[in-house]
């Protein structure tokens, strides 16, 4: 009697555990789908409005706000076309799955000379914000945290070079 009772109890517990697991999995799935659905799409041509602090300088063109930024976002990539990576506008790709993109390209170095160096980008989601890293072996580094709100694109930018660090919040509106 006691044995049968224990067995029945164990079966009940196993059933409960399986149910709990299913519910958890379902909730997780719903959560992932909901999060994915909430993630913004940054696609568009964006016109520069302002920066805090004003007249955010950057240096040698690295990190300087581009008057126009063209963003193209697909399911697994974001492409940025702008002049923020140096004096010459560039098209730079970020994979949204967190993996690196590496290529050879030109870059200004700290002395202002131009050289062919290695470039690398990486992107990751932080809730509804997209965190982008851009590095190159001319020792230029940039972290952009992008978000959308009220039709505006906000980029919280931080740059690192051997010289001074920079920090700024940049605002863009959609243009054509």
């Amino acid at each position: 009697m006691t044995i049968r009772s224990t067995s029945t109890c164990a079966r009940a517990h196993a059933h409960a555990r399986a149910c709990a697991l299913l519910v958890t999995l379902s909730l997780s799935l719903v959560s992932v789908v909901a999060t994915a659905q909430q993630r913004p799409n940054f696609t568009g041509t964006w016109k520069y409005v302002s920066s805090t602090p004003p007249n955010y300088p950057g240096s040698n063109g690295w990190g300087v706000p581009s008057p126009t930024v063209v963003l193209t976002q697909t399911g697994n990539e974001l492409t940025i076309e702008s002049g923020q990576f140096g004096a010459t506008p560039m098209k730079v790709v970020y994979k949204l799955d967190g993996t690196d993109t590496i290529w050879d390209g030109t870059s200004s170095s700290q002395s202002g000379s131009t050289a062919v160096v290695k470039w690398r980008t990486k992107a990751s989601w932080d809730g509804n914000r997209l965190v982008l890293y851009t590095w190159n072996t001319a020792l230029n580094q940039m972290r952009d945290i992008m978000s959308l709100s009220g039709g505006q694109l906000t980029i919280v930018r931080a740059t690192e070079q051997p010289g001074p660090s920079t920090n700024a919040t940049l605002t863009y509106t959609k243009g054509s």
Binding site: S109, Q110, Y133, W135, T137, L139, A158, E160, S165
Partner: protein, 388 residues
């Protein structure tokens, strides 16, 4: 007429000036008076016995390349010296016959130009500068940055782990003594965090320890704080914001820990001062008028600071009184260009790594040197299982 006289004077000055004025190099040479102290004291109580030390780097690590910016040096013993080399630099097609083998000779800063090849980033040499170990297995760690910033062994660690700070990749590495294993990485490689982020650094610069293994990281070029860790590398607390007031920083670059009760001495380089804190980050004092790249706590409990402005090494007591200084900017032997880390071995030899000069020099105490003017390195704990 007045204008004509002035023009004639200017002309004569230009024509004759180049002939009459001594060259910078000869001025440097003429001022070398090793026996004297004071402002003109170039090498203080030391001499530079071999301008071509280390043997490993002379004439070249490999044909056509020279060692680059020297971020750090740590003398574990008179015959085991770690060099933190920020990569090697390709030489121009032609170099003059008197080229001494370091980039500073060209009057260009070696730290960032030209782009270095990240090879031989951590090497170990003996007292003669002969190569003992090249940790080439770790060169790849530095490829996306500018190489190791500084190198240390905690004086309180019986296993003598080797710590390397990489500012541009925002991490601090802890290696086994032989360099075979990377034991721990603090920070997130290539990702930089802001002042309130305890997971990431933003261009950390320097470390020092308490006897129980607790350590402090100056962070750094990008952030404006000190982070305190327990002996296992768990962050305990942080302090500092950007600014010029007490407890605020602008490029906290150097750090030294010592005294009783223990204090944390922070080089607030951008604000041209040293700030003093207790081990919980409470502000105690500031010493204005010096902007050290680096600092070192000596065995006789003094802070030795290497000033980025004057290129002098200054000895302070723990109350901030400057007791002695020596050094002068230059690229000839014994002079320095941007001292970045100093270290002294148990025989009294002093090693100075120069980021812009692109070399590490070995200084030997002169016979009869005043012992109070010598930098005395802290003793290291005996190594478990004996030294290598």
């Amino acid at each position: 007429m007045h204008r004509l006289r002035l023009s004639l004077f200017a002309f004569l000055l230009v024509v004759l000036g180049f002939e009459l004025l001594p060259s910078a190099a000869s001025m440097q040479q003429s001022r070398v008076d090793p026996a004297k102290g004071g402002v003109g004291d170039i090498t203080g109580p030391y001499e530079v016995p071999d301008p071509k030390w280390p043997e490993w780097a002379h004439p070249y690590p490999k044909p056509g390349y020279i060692w680059g910016s020297q971020g750090g040096v740590f003398a574990e013993s008179p015959n085991r010296i770690y060099l933190a080399n920020r990569g090697e630099l390709k030489l121009p097609e032609r170099v003059p016959p008197n080229f001494p083998g370091n980039w500073g000779f060209f009057n260009q800063q070696a730290a960032t130009q030209p782009i270095a090849n990240m090879v031989n980033c951590i090497v170990v040499v003996d007292g003669n500068g002969k190569l003992i170990e090249a940790w080439n297995q770790w060169d790849k760690l530095f490829e996306w940055g500018r190489g190791p910033h500084q190198v240390y062994i905690s004086p309180y660690d019986p296993e003598r782990h080797v710590w390397v700070v990489d500012d541009m990749r925002h991490v601090v590495y802890k290696f086994t003594h032989d360099g075979k294993r990377l034991v721990q990485t603090l920070g997130v490689l290539d990702e930089f965090g802001d002042n309130d982020d305890l997971t990431r650094f933003r261009r950390p610069t320097m470390i020092d320890w308490l006897p129980d293994g607790t350590f402090f990281v100056a962070d750094g070029y990008g952030n404006t704080r000190v982070v305190k860790f327990n002996k296992d590398g768990k962050p305990l607390l942080k302090w500092g914001t950007r600014g010029t007031g007490p407890g605020q920083f602008n490029t906290p670059h150097g750090i030294a820990v010592g005294g009783s009760p223990a204090r944390v001495f922070v080089s607030d380089r951008g604000n041209r001062r040293i700030q003093v804190f207790d081990v919980n980050g409470n502000f105690l004092d500031e010493w204005p008028g010096i902007a050290p790249h680096s600092m070192m706590m000596s065995a006789d409990e003094h802070v030795w600071a290497v000033d980025s402005i004057s290129d002098r090494i200054v000895k302070f007591d723990l109350s901030g009184h400057a007791e002695y200084s020596f050094g002068q900017f230059g690229t000839r032997p014994g002079y320095t260009w941007a001292m970045h880390q100093i270290s002294a071995d148990q025989d009294g030899n002093l090693f100075i790594a120069e980021v812009f000069g692109g070399r590490t020099q070995k200084y030997r105490p002169r016979p009869g040197a005043d012992p109070t003017q010598l930098v005395r390195g802290r003793s290291l704990m005996p190594m478990a299982g004996g030294t290598r």
